[in-house]
Each structure stands twice: as C-alpha cells, then as structure tokens.
Symmetry: C2
Subunit: 201 residues, 2 copies
Amino acid sequence: MSSSLLNTLIDRLRVLPTVGPRSARRMALHLLQSDRAGGVKLSQALADAMTNINNCQQCQNFTEQTLCGVCSDQERDRSLLCVVENPADVDVIEMASDYQGYYFVLMGRLSPLDGIGPDDLGMEKLFELIRSVGVNEVILATSTSVEGDATAYYISDQLVNDDLKVTRLMTGMSAGSELEAISGSMLKQAFTLRQPFPASA
Amino acid sequence: MSSSLLNTLIDRLRVLPTVGPRSARRMALHLLQSDRAGGVKLSQALADAMTNINNCQQCQNFTEQTLCGVCSDQERDRSLLCVVENPADVDVIEMASDYQGYYFVLMGRLSPLDGIGPDDLGMEKLFELIRSVGVNEVILATSTSVEGDATAYYISDQLVNDDLKVTRLMTGMSAGSELEAISGSMLKQAFTLRQPFPASA
Ligand SMILES: [Zn+2]
Ligand SMILES: [Zn+2]
C-alpha cells in the first residue's frame, strides 16, 4: 500500500458491521478522491458521538443528557412502560403510534449462546423502575425471534407476583421479525390490540 | 431520535458509498453499543487520512509524502511506465507481478457521460512525465470496460508521434472487469504477454 495512513484507515473502517477489506478500501478511496469534507465531518461526528452519548439513567436509551427526551417529559403517562430491544424501536413506535407512556430499552435480548444474560440487559434496573414508579401495565415489545420471545417470557415470569398487567404487542409478524420491519399502521394497531402475556395468564 | 448526536452520526455515515439510512443506523448503534474504542480509532484514522494524504507529485497515487514509495525508489526501471486507473491497481500489480518500472495513476478513467475528461485525470502531466523521463515503453493497464478501453486508445493516440512502444496488458479478462478481479498468476502472465497497442500499430 502506497500510504500507511490509507492502510490504517482501511483497517479501521472494518469496525463497521458488514464492512470487509474490499469494501473498506472502496470507502477509503471514495472519501479521498471525492469527498474529503464529508470524511472530516464523519470523523467529527464519530468523535462527538463516541465521547458524549451515554445511556439514559432511567430507560437506558442513548442520550447526551442524564435523562433522555422521553424520560424527562413529565406529560407522559407514568402508568405505562413499554419494553423494547433497541433505540430504533423507540423511534418507530414514537413515529407510528400515539403511545404516551415511557420506555425501557434493553439494548439487546436474552441470548445465552452469545453470553447475553439478564444482567447485560439491565433487568434489575427494569424491575426496580417498574416497582418504584408504580407502573400499571408493562407492554412487551421485544421482537418475534426466539430470543425476543424468551426475553418476554423472562420478564413476565419475574413480574408474576406484582400487581400489574403484562401485555405483548400482537403484531401479526412472522417469527424472527424486528419491530422496524412492520408498517406504521400495523404497529399502531398492534398497540391497540395488545394482549395479556403469556396468553394463559 | 433520542439523541441529536446519534442523529448527526447516522447522517454523516451516509457519505460512505452503498450506506443507506438503515445500514447507517445499524453501524452507529453497533459502535455505541459494542465498540466505542473502535469508533474513536476510526474517527482519528479518518481525520489523519483526510488531512495528511495527498497525491504523489509524480504519479498521482495517494501518499503522505511529496513522492510516493515507488516514485522515490531510485532502483526501479525508469524506461517502463505502467498506467493504471486506481491506487488499488498499483497494489495488486506490486503484489502479483515482478514489474519493476514506475506507475502513473489516473484516479479514474475517461467518462464523458460523467463529465470526466483528460484534464480530470492529469493527462498533460502524464505526457510531460513520459517525455521528460525518456520512457521507452508505456504499458496501458486500464480496465477492460468501455471507458477503460477508450482511455487506453486516447493515451496511445496522443503518443503516436513519440519514439516509444505502447503496449496493453493481455489479461484475457471479460469486458468490464477491474484489474483486482484477476488472479495473481494471471496478472503476472498478462505482464509477460503484453502486446503492442492498438493491435494494428
Ligand atoms: Zn430515558
Ligand atoms: Zn508516485
């Protein structure tokens, strides 16, 4: 390689998911040849985000404040808590539905094979929040994957002796789907038609 | 979006070729959740590369010096000049063949439809270099695409009155292929079997 800085850049680009050596090289050359200003802006945005974004102290979602925008909004309905896997899920629900409760973002889902257990998802924090705030209904909006279902079962199981309702979105989605794969109108309906979970409860 | 810094990062990631909004979001969340150190290193590598990499004054290839490593190597054969489209082509030739001459990197190919003419590729610089150094053979190693062929014809046409040999790699590649698609042993052979260009010359 003619330039060691170029070599390093190609190497570093591979921290991005799905970017292999060939596409990393294509990205680096494209920026150098056609968009250096864009490359500099990307560099700054990366540094800013990596340094200043932390997790909301209440819901774990990403924010640069102590509390995220949703958690610091006092107008929302404290009796409802919707549990999702990812920050992206909060965005799609906020855009598509008129849900007015709060969220808890697991930042993943139970996956024993990948070594992801309840502690990695902040489950203790979730149960503490539910009990301290006095939530009336916990809405499980984890994905319809095997792990998403297992995560929903784990949470409902831990809450079986609490005096509250546990529901799950009825998305009508095929197994394995992420929340973001669903259309806005279907997501809105899934909230309206949410059902007690597990079904036998 | 819960975090405006995250929003900005997702936006900025789209300067990368083939990265749309969904995959930009996936990249940003992956870095935040699983590899902040990698994200910071990528940010630094980007800033370094965008600021400090320039074009070699002789061959146009990327380098952080005035002359790239090949051009500053006095041991190489000044009578041979190989013209390629991209920095990546220099790398594959250096790795696969025992070519010992110099290079000129066009950083593209003639493409009137995209508004890329001889000036954009540094053609004047190329002809000046050929004449000032006293090159005996210009080896055209542009791609076998329509534009790569047109670029080869343009160069050979401009050199028709110069006292030197113009050859083209006989890659046996199907039309439209880039140099990097060829195997090492075939590339080595393509150098050995290079032919006068155009064939009628
Ligand atoms: Zn929050
Ligand atoms: Zn050079």
